[in-house]
Symmetry: C2
Subunit: 425 residues, 2 copies
């Protein structure tokens, strides 16, 4: 229907009809299962945060171009959270004394970015965030990567379909510094490097010049971003790859010198999930952020490492690989039909008895509807059983129980109904 | 900690640390269980909607005073949804042709209202919404009320602790019209009537004058709002109370001539949940809205009836009645400790084996930490079992399994570990 008068949803937002919501729930339960398998606890935060929280370290693009901003009535700049890590850092800083470290937390919630809506990208989306705060050592980095790989496994995505690409920003930085790039220029160079696969070589060199780099420097950067074995110079990465073998997920992981990440707060390890065919943008991304808790005002430095995975790209990847689930949205086991208005009470009572036994049961809500219409409703909703109580049954405390799949029906005592349904479902 | 530099959360927003989130999850699962028991299906919608959606019929107070507004980059007025029903009406209108009616849907999500934050009231909160769209007949009204009463039962709240107060706006309207109040003034009179218990009698009479009523008219309205047996003149209400007996929840429900509801879109039945002691404001509220789908631009009139229950008031009511749940937030069954950095690999592998068997297992992430520190971590997190693998055990493919509650420990073959843990937990 496309009525001209119908108030439209806001561009880039999403409606979740029961079928869509069933997928969101399924995905959330997978995320939760995997996170809890590794001992992560669930948390959540506000959807509204002050713009300051991101201004520090999330990077110019996210804050200036993509933030949904609003003002409170005192004129303070607020934003709908574009990502979760700054909220997490704030929450951990706030209760640093009471929390047990390492903090291992996960969440699944909405994020907002004012981007151009397109296939697989909306302005309102969900992300699964998984983070470890406390450890400065690389064992934590290996663990969060293993969590993501385990999710792949639980979703049935194989190493021939999806990969995890890992890099070390420190390694990149050491390389960049050999090009006589001044240290204060590194933030801009990282931001530039992150754009490599999004623009042509010519444009990249031009962008280098705009960022104060000579053509030679920019070409050297491009070369660095393609050195396939550079990780051998990083004992940090070598050890992470070694640990990932012990986690049994090494088939999923590979070194990629071109992985940089756009967010400014990453200090060391960075990683991204990719589909092997390259049909999608990054499925998820993350890294180590050793200074963020202090940057949002925490008294102590509390290092962290984690990643975020959006709901829309992973849904696309599941579809493309025929791993998208078939979900039955009907949870009702029995429809108790209504024979006539006079017998509505009887139907209500039978439905009550079923619900008291934790059997999901509906009564048809229009007592004047013909039985045919009611059966059709059950069929459309996918309800497997219907109960019919006519005057004869009502008098003899009987019910007719009909299996809509087999079309078989039996007449049994009302007293035997619960047992019968529990047996057959 | 209260650092002066720490970026603060926005006033009226809420952080959900794992303990808080555990309650949200528990509550959500109760809501879901009850809704599904009656055959309702879960849906969700956007958090951002256009202000127009509410301007129609949500009432002046909600739109002008309490809406969190923002503008998109074209200057369109958007709002963070203060309630769910208009979104639901829009979604149903949009797919009216494809949906199976009656539509029975529920959702649990965030709402935003720019109110003064106080105990039990935040600017960002959650609501459970339960609605039936399609039926114009009162059987649907009785059903949604029965759903709310069943929730009371599932939460362990008794009829001596909580009630459901029901009224019929049509009945009120008929009464008001006998006072020679012009029909076009009824919206204002309903809005006034809703304020009755929030102001003094004197203020109420003054407010009546401000709304074009004589003192006699206002006094007569006050009298109407207290006629304890007026429902006997409403066959509609009499029948609803009769049906609620059949649902087995009549001890929870009562007629209250003073229930009006603030939202303008209600056309007939209105109801609210209250704690018997009157310590809280309304726990939840709802009613019948026969024109809302058409008002948001739907081609057909699709009647609806439903309610919304907030998370914060129900939490308060549970606490006040000693029904607030004790929730264990730890889901980890086993901590695999690390004896020494050389043996970290062994610990990782044991943890892997456990996870493959769906046993939630953590490895301690700092391989240099003393065993004592690791046991303390397990204690603090409430993890019931720890595993220790020293050099001797590693060589003989053994593990030490320690029960932190009983402090007992046994040494067993690694091959027997999964079986043992599954037996004991």
């Amino acid at each position: 229907m496309s009525s001209s008068n119908l108030i439209q949803p806001v561009k880039g937002t999403r409606d979740f009809y029961p079928q869509d919501q069933a997928f969101q729930n399924w995905l959330y339960l997978k995320f939760k299962e995997v996170a809890e398998l590794f001992g992560f606890q669930e948390y959540e935060g506000p959807i509204i945060e002050s713009l300051d929280l991101y201004a520090a370290k999330s990077g110019e693009e996210l804050v200036k171009k993509q933030a949904f901003t609003l003002a409170d009535r005192s004129g303070n700049a607020l934003t709908l959270r574009p990502e979760m890590t700054p909220t997490l850092a704030r929450m951990v800083a706030q209760k640093a004394r009471e929390l047990t470290f390492p903090v291992k937390w996960f969440t699944f919630g909405r994020r907002f970015r004012y981007e151009k809506p397109q296939k697989g990208r909306a302005r309102e989306f969900f992300q699964w965030d998984v983070d470890i705060l406390g450890p400065e050592n690389l064992e934590a980095d290996a663990e969060v990567i293993a969590v993501a790989a385990t999710l792949y496994q639980k979703l049935g995505l194989t190493p021939t379909e999806v990969k995890i690409k890992i890099n070390d920003r420190k390694l990149l930085q050491d390389r960049f510094l050999t090009l006589e790039i001044p240290e204060e220029n590194l933030v801009r160079v990282f931001r530039l490097a992150d754009k490599k696969d999004k623009v042509t070589r010519e444009d990249f060199i031009e962008m280098g010049q705009e960022n104060g780099l000579s053509e030679d420097q920019t070409k050297a950067i491009l070369q660095i971003l393609e050195e396939k074995n550079a990780y051998l110079d990083s004992p940090w990465l070598v050890k992470i790859f070694d640990l990932l073998k012990k986690y049994g997920v090494s088939e999923y992981v590979e070194y990629d010198p071109g992985i940089v990440r756009g967010l400014e707060y990453y200090t060391r390890t960075v990683f991204e999930g990719w589909d092997v065919k390259g049909e999608f943008r990054a499925i998820w991304g993350g890294g180590r952020y050793d200074n963020l808790v202090a940057d949002v005002g925490g008294k102590q430095k509390i290092p962290g490492v984690g990643f975020a995975m959006g709901d829309m790209v992973i849904a696309g990847v599941l579809k493309a690989n025929n791993k998208y689930p078939t979900l039955l949205i009907n949870k009702t086991q029995v429809l108790v039909t209504v024979f006539s208005p006079e017998l509505y009470d009887k139907s209500l009572k039978i439905a009550n008895v079923l619900r008291e036994e934790n059997i999901n049961a509906e009564t048809f809500l229009d007592p004047t509807a013909k039985i045919d219409k009611q059966l059709k409703y059950a069929d459309k909703k996918g309800i497997p059983y219907v109960i019919i109580i006519g005057p004869v049954e009502a008098e003899q405390t009987l019910v007719v129980l009909k299996n809509l799949r087999t079309r078989e029906q039996i007449t049994i005592l009302q007293a035997d109904l619960v047992k019968k349904i529990k047996q057959t479902s």
